[in-house]
Structures are given as C-alpha cells and as structure tokens.
C-alpha cells in the first residue's frame, strides 16, 4: 500500500500533467481554426484548376504527343508514395494511420512485383517508416508549415517530385494524407497525382469540350505549364488538409487526455482519503487499546 505521501505526490504530478494537456488542447484548438480556414480557402483554386485541366485533357484525349505527366510513362513499374504526416506526435492516431496505410500499400505493391519508393513528408513518417521500409526511403521533407503552410513549400515538394519524374525515377505517384472532415474526424486519403487521373465525369467534360475552346498558345504549351502547377496545387491542398487534420486530431487526443487525468485524480483522491481515514482509525484503536490495558 502506497504511503500517504506517495499518493499526495502522485496527485500533484497528475494535476500538472492535466494542466499541460489542457493547455495543448487549447493551443491546438486555436491553430485548428486557422488551419481550417486556410484549407477551406484553398479549395476554390484546386477545384477550378481541376476543371480547367479536365477541359484541356478532354480535348487532348487520344492525341499523340500529350505530355507524359498527363498520360503516364506507359509503364506501371515504379511507384512513388508520398506519405504526409506531422512533425510532432501527441495527436492520437493521426500519424500512425498514415504510416499504416503507407505500409499496407507498399506491401501490396511489393507483392505485385513492383518497385516502391517512399518520400516521407513530416518527421513522424520518416521515423516510423524507417524500420520496416528504410531501404525504399528517399529524401523527404520536414518542418513544413511551421508558421502555416505557404504555397512555396508545396511548390518545393512538387518540384522534387516533378524532377524525379522527368528523370524517369518513377511511373506512378500517389500522395497519402489525412483529409480534414471535421475537428474529430480525419480520413486517410490516397490520391494519385501522376499520371493525372482523368475526371470520371467524362460526360460532363465532353460537354464542356464541345463548346470549342480556343487555346493561346497551343494546348500542349498550356498543359506543359499547367501540369506542374497542378501538381503543386494538389500538394498544397494535401499539406493544408493534413495540417488542419493534425490540429483536429491533437485537440481530440488532448481533450481525452485531460479527461482521463481528471478521472485519475478523482480515483487517487478517493484512495488518498480512504487511506488517511484508515490511518486515523488505526491510531485511535492503538490509543484506546493502550488506555484499556492500564
């Protein structure tokens, strides 16, 4: 049985833990609000870019000489997986769910005899994937978005990916990130960015293409500029969504931790009071029986 002093110290320590977790929760909540606004503000750009690209792609379908980033290399041999996680932990299943999804996908691809390369974005992805998939790992990115994600950072990642693609280092690129659904729910999302997945709403795109567009300069020149931009935009979106999800996940995790600490303090307080009473009773019995013996 723990002594009264031990119990008291334990209560104090849990109390200070609770203070920390509740402060972290508050910080995450305020960051979440900012990240969420940023993620939502970035959606129109990505949507319009997709629409424009869809129109262009629809008018180019079946023509030879379309850029490789649109049609792919024709092979399906080397896969690049971009795993987007946070730099920091203490946010529930946020990082590990991405890591799990990446491992799963990588194992699947390896079983099919494909080659896999993993680009970790965020410190946690690198740390957690290094043990099992260290030999497939290529250089990634860390410390992105310390003061909120800016487009230049997404551009950096996109440039690295595009550079590898141009060098023929991979055929298919998939980004794995947490899509922000609400403050308490994130969804692990796999998005193929290279080759550009043609919009499934082909019917709609065709209708759009029938209104004959003029292209200035030619379709191919525009595509050559638009595709790398689109890659950066998709990365930007993934980073923003991931950032918002991270804060949401951390807020939930810290809320749970705060509540657990509260429960623990209550349980400890009851235990403390019981042992204190027991001790007083014991001392009384000792005194009384001592007096009776005289």
């Amino acid at each position: 049985m723990a002594s009264l002093k031990d119990l008291r110290m334990k209560i104090v320590s849990v109390k200070s833990t609770r203070k920390i977790t509740s402060a972290m929760k508050m910080v995450a909540a305020s960051k979440l609000r900012r990240a969420q606004t940023a993620a939502e503000a970035a959606r129109p750009f990505a949507e319009r870019m997709e629409r424009m690209l869809g129109t262009l792609a629809a008018s180019l379908v079946g023509q030879s000489g379309a850029p490789r980033m649109l049609t792919g290399t024709g092979a399906d041999k080397v896969h690049l997986l971009v795993a987007v996680t946070a730099d920091r932990g203490l946010c529930g299943g946020f990082n590990s769910s991405i890591v799990r999804a990446t491992k799963h996908l990588a194992a699947d691809l390896l079983k099919q005899g494909k080659t896999v390369k993993i680009m970790p974005v965020g410190r946690k992805a690198r740390e957690q994937l290094r043990r099992d998939f260290g030999q497939y790992m290529i250089e990634g990115f860390e410390q992105l978005g310390r003061k909120g994600i800016v487009f230049a950072e997404a551009d950096q990642v996109a440039n690295a990916v595009a550079g590898m693609f141009d060098a023929g280092d991979f055929d298919v690129c998939t980004v794995i990130y947490n899509r922000f659904k609400s403050a308490i729910a994130q969804e692990v999302t796999r998005q193929q960015v290279i080759p550009f997945p043609l919009p499934e709403t082909t019917g709609k795109a065709e209708a759009g293409a029938k209104a004959i567009y003029e292209f200035e300069p030619g379709e191919e020149e525009i595509l050559a500029e638009l595709l790398p931009r689109n890659l950066a935009t998709q990365m930007f979106r993934a980073l923003l969504e991931s950032q918002a999800s991270e804060q949401g996940a951390r807020m939930t995790a810290m809320d749970n931790a705060t509540r657990n600490a509260g429960d623990m303090i209550n349980a400890l307080a009851i235990k403390y009071n019981r042992s204190r009473q027991a001790q007083i009773t014991k001392e009384l019995i000792e005194i009384i029986s001592g007096a009776e013996a005289l």
């Binding site: 319009r48 424009m52 300069p217």
Partner: protein, 133 residues
C-alpha cells in the same frame, strides 16, 4: 452595358474576387485581351502584369498578378493567379526585395532549369516595377 461577365480571381491561398463586371483586361501569354460577356471560350496563360477590371464605365480595380492561367467562357472568366496583389498595395520595398531575390537567383543559376526560373523571377519583378511606375 446591360450584360456583365462574371469575374473570378483565385490564388492558391484563397478566392480573391468574385463579382460580375463589365469588362476585364488580362495580360495574356500572347498579348493583352479584354473579356466581355459572350466572349468566345478560351484558355490561355497569363504573363506577369496587371489585370484591369472595368465596371461602371471606369477602371474599378487594378490587380497585379505574377502569372497564371485564365479560362474564359461565354458567361465567366476565371483567372488562376500564382500570386495576386492589388496595385495600390504594392510598395517600393516589396519591389526591392523581389529584385534582390531575382538578381541572386540569376547569379546562382547553374543549370538551364535554374536559369529559366531566375528569368521568371526577374520578369515578375520587372512587371511589378511597371505596375508601380
């Protein structure tokens, strides 16, 4: 002018402008063009420069863009800009900073790709200078 064209200006960070206007003059990749309602559908690149928004018989706003793309349909024009700043918010300090970065990039450029990038930065800085001046 009865019919208006719906003008949307979007940057990666947010939707900057979305309103019906009389006419928009955009610095297209192959020359400036004005887009009015019922313009022929067109997709074009945008070079760094200034977008003039005409509304109510005068230029209602001028916005500096650092390149991007424009999609014109009969009823709307969408400009996807890499960066967009209203001209009256541009400052000499911003310009000086841009110029410095561009110059450094040109001095450091080794590969052709780097040189291309540096030239772009310089073009943006020059367009900004014209916009201010």
């Amino acid at each position: 002018m009865a019919e208006k064209i719906k003008f949307e200006l979007v940057s990666p960070a947010k939707l900057l402008l979305s309103s019906p206007v009389d006419m928009v003059v955009v610095p297209g990749g192959e020359g400036d063009f004005g887009a009015l309602s019922r313009h022929a559908p067109m997709i074009t690149t945008v070079r760094p420069g200034v977008i003039d928004v005409h509304d109510g018989g005068k230029v209602s706003s001028r916005i500096f863009v650092a390149g991007g793309f424009a999609e014109v349909t009969e009823e709307r024009i969408t400009v996807l800009a890499e960066e967009a700043i209203p001209v009256n918010e541009l400052t000499a300090d911003m310009l000086a900073a841009r110029k410095k970065v561009a110059k450094e990039a040109i001095d450091d450029a080794k590969s052709d790709a780097d040189k291309g990038k540096a030239a772009r930065l310089l073009a943006i800085a020059e367009a900004m200078e014209t916009a201010i001046g």
